[in-house]
């Protein structure tokens, strides 16, 4: 099959994308409303002085490559979370610049961090 034929087939597929069912749309709507804040979100809380947050802040200020800093933090988090079930919410990680940067760069970790 030549490029022209395949491009034609792909173009037809592009014009007829798989469509979500009405049931899925309803569930998505239900989730969106259930998880929507009822008012403007509160201001970020003051940073916790936990050791993990201090490490987080030090790494964010150190002149480390972003990938190295991120990998280090994820590794430390995994160690802490399995050791003594530190609550990430309590540590205020997501209120720090590096925490938010990680979530923008690696959205998949929103699942690792659990309830945000």
């Amino acid at each position: 099959m030549n490029d022209t034929d395949l491009d034609d087939l792909l173009a037809q597929a592009r014009s007829t994308p798989p469509k979500p069912s009405e049931a899925l749309m309803a569930r998505a709507m239900e989730d969106a409303l259930a998880l929507q804040p009822v008012s403007a979100p509160p201001s970020p809380s003051p940073q916790s002085s936990s050791k993990f947050v201090r490490l987080w802040d030090w790494l964010s200020s150190a002149a480390l490559p972003t990938g190295l800093a991120t990998a280090t933090l994820i590794g430390v988090w995994i160690g802490i979370s399995t050791a003594d079930s530190v609550s990430l919410q309590a540590a205020g990680l997501l209120e720090t610049d590096l925490g938010m940067d990680m979530l923008h760069r690696f959205p998949v970790i929103s699942g690792i961090l659990g309830e945000i």
């Binding site: 034929d5 929507q36 979530l103």
Partner: protein
């Protein structure tokens, strides 16, 4: 400060997300209408199961709703972020289940039908989907995002977490492999021999 939600359809995803985070249910409705089809289309093409694609779509959107109050304007595109979550969730499922490219019973026919046996449009799209599911995962992702979702190479690079040149390479190799897979069915698909 969020913009007044007079005409949701005219607002950017980011503006809608800001309004959503501020508690406006109209923004919720607009975002669901706009983003659910996008997320589902990618998930459906990446996975062989419609049910799993629906689960991935719902899960990806839940993560967005939870993240919305903390979204920082100007850092990333909402759709790019969402596509990235969808692609990663699909990869997780494929990795965990060691899913075969095709579901049971969805085997590609070994024998080529006669030239007169043209497929319906639905069958043609089904044949394309089967071909896509036989591609290596990364090539499949690149081809779907580029040629079916119409995203730019830089956007795909951001979604897949690779460089633009790597996207170009994956897309080219994926298309080439797809053409090889579909070649035996060329006439059936309605294309003439060269």
């Amino acid at each position: 400060m969020t913009r007044a939600l007079d005409a949701p359809s005219e607002l950017s995803d980011e503006d809608l997300l800001a309004s959503y985070g501020a508690g406006d249910p109209r923004a919720a409705r607009a975002l669901v209408a706009r983003l659910t089809p996008k997320a589902f289309a990618v998930a459906r093409r990446l996975l062989s199961s419609e049910a799993e694609a629906e689960e991935v779509t719902q899960e990806a959107l839940v993560r967005l709703w939870r993240f919305a109050p903390k979204w920082r304007t100007g850092e990333a595109q909402v759709s790019t972020w969402l596509y990235r979550v969808v692609v990663n969730l699909c990869s997780d499922r494929l990795r965990k289940k060691r899913e075969a490219p095709l579901q049971d019973g969805m085997e590609i026919a070994d024998e080529a039908p006669t030239a007169e046996a043209r497929l319906s449009e639905e069958d043609r799209q089904d044949a394309l989907q089967r071909g896509l599911l036989q591609l290596p995962e990364r090539q499949r992702q690149a081809v779907i995002l580029r040629h079916l979702e119409g995203l730019s190479n830089p956007a795909i690079a951001e979604i897949l977490g690779i460089g633009v040149e790597a996207v170009e390479s994956l897309t080219a190799r994926g298309k080439r492999r797809l053409a090889e897979l579909l070649a035996p069915r060329r006439q059936e698909l309605g294309y003439q021999d060269d």
